[in-house]
């Protein structure tokens, strides 16, 4: 009689505790991420079972990531770091937090989270995925030397026998914004050439030359006002604009190079992890 009573209680508890999980999962599968995140939060509100709580934490994190709410996911996971879950679960929460921090573009915070790993998880070294995040975050911050060191250590640990192409032999050479400005200041269009945009450089040269030409011709024909107010003004306006444009183009070019390099590093490291 007692056994039957206990079994009934256990089965009722299991049904009750998994009902919310099932609903949340089905909402997630249906792509209703906002409603699913509420359903997962409800599990956390109602349930004290650590397994159910962990499933809900990761479920809600998935929803927030799907909605692109990385900052909320970051804060949400931070709040669960202090709970007495098993260390493997806390490690997963820690990794998810670092991932959301990276996706949210807070690269300095990613490094801090990676540094916290060893003393929060019993002196263990960070998981491979976390190391990858660290390398990518260092790349994003332009700290190539540290990124390269971390990359070489990681590759050596994962594939000591295999020879992979060393991506850090070709670190993107970023162009100097000051140099572009300086070039455009003294040679019209040179800054744009330096930024790798010859079309814009030629346009800039042509328009500034036209301004000077108009000023000279007008001056020769004794149209002094026109020479100053049209020729010189045209040249001056496009000259100053050219300097600013060169700066913007160099920044765009640098960003593009960094993204391409990061993409290559990411692809190589992820393929290494999947092997």
């Amino acid at each position: 009689m007692t056994i039957r009573y206990c079994l009934t209680c256990i089965s009722l508890f299991v049904i009750f505790s998994t009902r919310g999980q099932g609903l949340a999962d089905s909402l997630y599968k249906a792509g209703r991420y906002f409603d699913a995140s509420i359903a997962y939060e409800r599990i956390l509100f109602e349930n004290n079972d650590p397994n159910a709580q962990l499933a809900a934490i990761f479920g809600k994190t998935r929803c927030l990531k799907q909605e692109g709410r990385y900052d909320q996911a970051m804060t949400f996971l931070e709040n669960w770091q202090a709970y007495p879950f098993p260390d493997s679960s806390l490690a997963e929460i820690h990794y998810q937090q670092a991932l959301c921090t990276y996706l949210g573009g807070h690269f300095e915070n990613v490094l801090s989270l990676v540094d916290r790993w060893s003393y929060e998880h019993g002196g263990h070294s960070p998981t491979p995925m976390l190391v990858v995040l660290k390398i990518l975050a260092l790349n994003e911050l332009g700290r190539w030397k540290e990124a390269g060191d971390a990359y070489h250590t990681f590759v050596a640990q994962r594939e000591p026998a295999k020879v992979l192409p060393d991506l850090y032999l070709h670190i993107p050479r970023l162009k100097s914004v000051e140099k572009a400005q300086w070039l455009s200041q003294f040679i019209p269009g040179a800054g744009q050439f330096y930024a790798g945009r010859p079309g814009e450089a030629i346009f800039s040269i042509l328009i500034q030359t036209a301004g000077i030409w108009f000023a000279v011709v007008s001056f020769e024909q004794h149209y002094y006002v026109s020479a100053w107010l049209i020729g010189a003004a045209l040249f001056g306006a496009f000259h100053m604009g050219g300097v600013r444009r060169a700066e913007v183009l160099v920044r765009q070019s640098n960003r593009k190079k960094m993204l391409a390099f990061n993409e290559a590093v990411r692809e190589q490291l992820v393929s290494l992890l999947q092997q």
Partner: protein
């Protein structure tokens, strides 16, 4: 047999009501939990899904109040007003609901509804009455109804630390708004006709005035040069002359408009200050 059925029915009805009450209070606690976690949109979704048909009056009041408050925290003012105004006078936070609904209405520019709502309140507490006067004074200033401001201002005692500073500032806003001199758009146009950009300077937009003066004077110089060297019928004179005319007339028209723009900017600045000083005492008093 009949008696047993009756008892069973009563038992089920009693427990059904208890279960429903339990479910509702659980939903309310869950919504509050979400609200405490800065998840107001989620709290709103939870509260909106509650079936109001089965709720008692007191439960509905709690629901509408919480819904209104959650919507207010994320500035969904229409929803907030709609929910806060549904709260019944029996509810403990009725005065707070009405005051905040009125503030949200004032924020949306619905001044008459806001002041009507505040006047309908029956307030026994003298500080609450003074707070209402402060709100009504603010609304009067937002409406530029200076006559309506004075009776409310007479209720100010400047004795409550919660809104003493705001009361003094309302008085200051009254003086500033009342003393604001309305400049003439026609005069601004005439000034700009005489000296390009001077109308904008007169309207209070000095930098715009200088920015208008320089190109017009440059075009005038180019037109004059073309006239002197090539004559009236030259393409150069006609081209620069046309450009000068367009810029010159445009500046006169712009100067007349700039008077209105400056006036609106002035009012907008004070509206923001007034709304801010209406809001802070509400938050301090009710929190």
């Amino acid at each position: 047999m009949k008696r047993v059925c009756l008892w069973l029915l009563m038992f089920l009805a009693f427990h059904g009501a208890r279960a429903q009450q339990f479910e509702f209070s659980k939903e309310l606690r869950f919504a509050q939990y979400l609200q405490d976690k800065d998840a107001a949109p989620e709290a709103i979704r939870v509260l909106e899904q509650v079936d109001t048909l089965t709720l008692s009056r007191a439960q509905k009041d709690s629901l509408f109040y919480m819904l209104g408050w959650a919507a207010y925290t994320i500035r969904r003012l229409d929803k907030s007003i709609g929910s806060l105004l549904k709260v019944s006078p029996d509810f403990s936070k009725y005065d707070k609901s009405r005051m905040f609904a009125a503030y949200c209405q004032a924020f949306q520019g619905r001044m008459d509804s806001a002041s009507d709502g505040l006047r309908e309140l029956v307030l026994s507490d003298s500080i609450m009455r003074e707070l209402r006067s402060l709100q009504l004074a603010g609304i009067a200033l937002l409406k530029r109804d200076y006559k309506a401001f004075l009776p409310q201002q007479q209720q100010f005692t400047y004795s409550s630390y919660i809104f003493e500073k705001e009361e003094r500032r309302m008085q200051l806003y009254y003086d500033k708004l009342k003393g604001f001199k309305h400049k003439s758009p026609a005069l601004a146009g005439i000034y700009s006709a005489l000296v390009p950009g001077l109308g904008k300077w007169y309207a209070g937009k000095k930098k715009q005035g200088i920015a208008a003066f320089l190109p017009i004077i440059s075009l005038a110089a180019l037109t004059y040069e073309a006239y002197r060297k090539d004559g009236v019928k030259s393409a150069r004179f006609i081209g620069f002359g046309s450009l000068f005319t367009i810029f010159y007339i445009g500046d006169i028209w712009g100067s007349t408009l700039s008077v209105k723009i400056r006036r609106n900017e002035f009012y907008k600045e004070y509206d923001n200050k007034i709304l801010f000083d209406m809001h802070i005492p509400l938050r301090n008093f009710f929190n």
